[in-house]
């Protein structure tokens, strides 16, 4: 009694408004729709909550203030230092976009755009290129000393420098795959357990309830993972920025 529906069917991209420009498929998809919703939701939340800004924040105003403090302090200050504050807008937008993407994906029958590797890889690649440019612009060719660990015997450098170079260039891939795999595996797991409900419940009620309870528990885990992966994505961006600014 295998489930009829493919657990990966939830990741299908549908063209909501087909747009074709000169052979390029630029259709407005459900993925794009969720991205627009995330962007609009974030903008509206920030604008409406700080519309009547008071010295003592109300309930709504404290939401952006807490988010601001979280990103400015525990992400940027603790990992980069005060020099990192100029990159605050980028890190904040990135964190909130990934967070909202993850959370909106948890709404039943919606779509998780962070579960597509091209989305996460697009973001990770922009971060990688940007960080490399920041490092080169700040340090010039001195940036290349980043690949040479300090206080290591000369002979070992032959081995360590290639490893350092490889681990640097593998960053966009690990950053992208970490977020994508987490979201995809979690959502697949939810559907797989949900697909056990009907075959088990068809005979007896109690076994049919078991996968439902597992799904409820998994939903909490997915909520944790959604928050955690947005945090990890942002904190690794900060660590990479720190490497580019301070060179170890």
């Amino acid at each position: 009694m295998v489930a009829k529906e493919n657990p990966l069917a939830q990741f299908t991209i549908d063209r909501l408004i087909p747009i074709h420009i000169g052979g390029i498929d630029a259709s407005f998809t459900n993925s794009a729709l969720l991205m627009v919703i995330a962007g609009v939701l974030l903008t509206v939340l920030m604008l409406v909550a700080t519309r009547k800004a008071a010295l003592v924040p109300g309930r709504w105003q404290s939401v952006p203030e807490m988010l601001y403090e979280f990103v400015a302090k525990s992400l940027i200050d603790d990992n980069i230092g005060s020099e990192g504050q100029r990159y605050f807008p980028f890190v904040f937008t990135l964190f909130m976009f990934v967070l909202l993407g993850n959370l909106l994906g948890l709404v039943p029958y919606s779509f998780t755009f962070t579960s597509h590797i091209i989305v996460t890889f697009g973001m990770a690649f922009v971060i990688f290129v940007g960080v490399t440019f920041i490092g080169l612009a700040r340090h010039g060719f001195h940036f290349l000393t980043f690949f040479v660990p300090h206080g290591v015997p000369k002979v070992l450098l032959l081995l360590l420098v290639p490893i350092e170079v490889l681990s640097y260039f593998i960053r966009p891939f690990t950053l992208a795959i970490r977020l994508f795999a987490n979201m995809m595996a979690g959502h697949t797991m939810l559907v797989i357990f949900a697909s056990f409900v009907a075959p088990l419940g068809a005979y007896y009620l109690i076994p049919g309830l078991l996968p439902v309870m597992i799904d409820v528990a998994l939903m909490f885990l997915e909520l944790l993972v959604a928050l955690l992966q947005a945090y990890v994505f942002a904190i690794l961006t900060c660590l990479y920025l720190n490497d580019a600014i301070h060179l170890h």
Partner: protein
């Protein structure tokens, strides 16, 4: 061997990566409980969850490979 069967065996083998993730996550939380038992005032919980996320991701790399084998090739 049938190609489909070989794919399924390969995907199953790729899930062995989850052994490492399980050991890693267990270590992270064992260390967290140890640290909190010795010094309840220690501010280490955020690091533990960072470690949990990083350890969990390595297992999911294996799962991603399994999906790749099953559905892409």
């Amino acid at each position: 061997m049938d190609l489909q069967a070989a794919k399924m065996i390969g995907a199953g083998l790729a899930c062995i990566a989850l052994v490492g993730a399980g050991i890693g996550i267990g270590n992270v939380f064992a260390a967290l409980i140890g640290a909190l038992a010795r010094n309840p005032a220690a501010q280490v919980t955020p690091f533990a969850f960072l470690g949990f996320a990083l350890a969990e991701a390595t297992g999911l790399f294996g799962l991603a490979i399994a999906f790749l084998i099953l559905f892409v090739f």
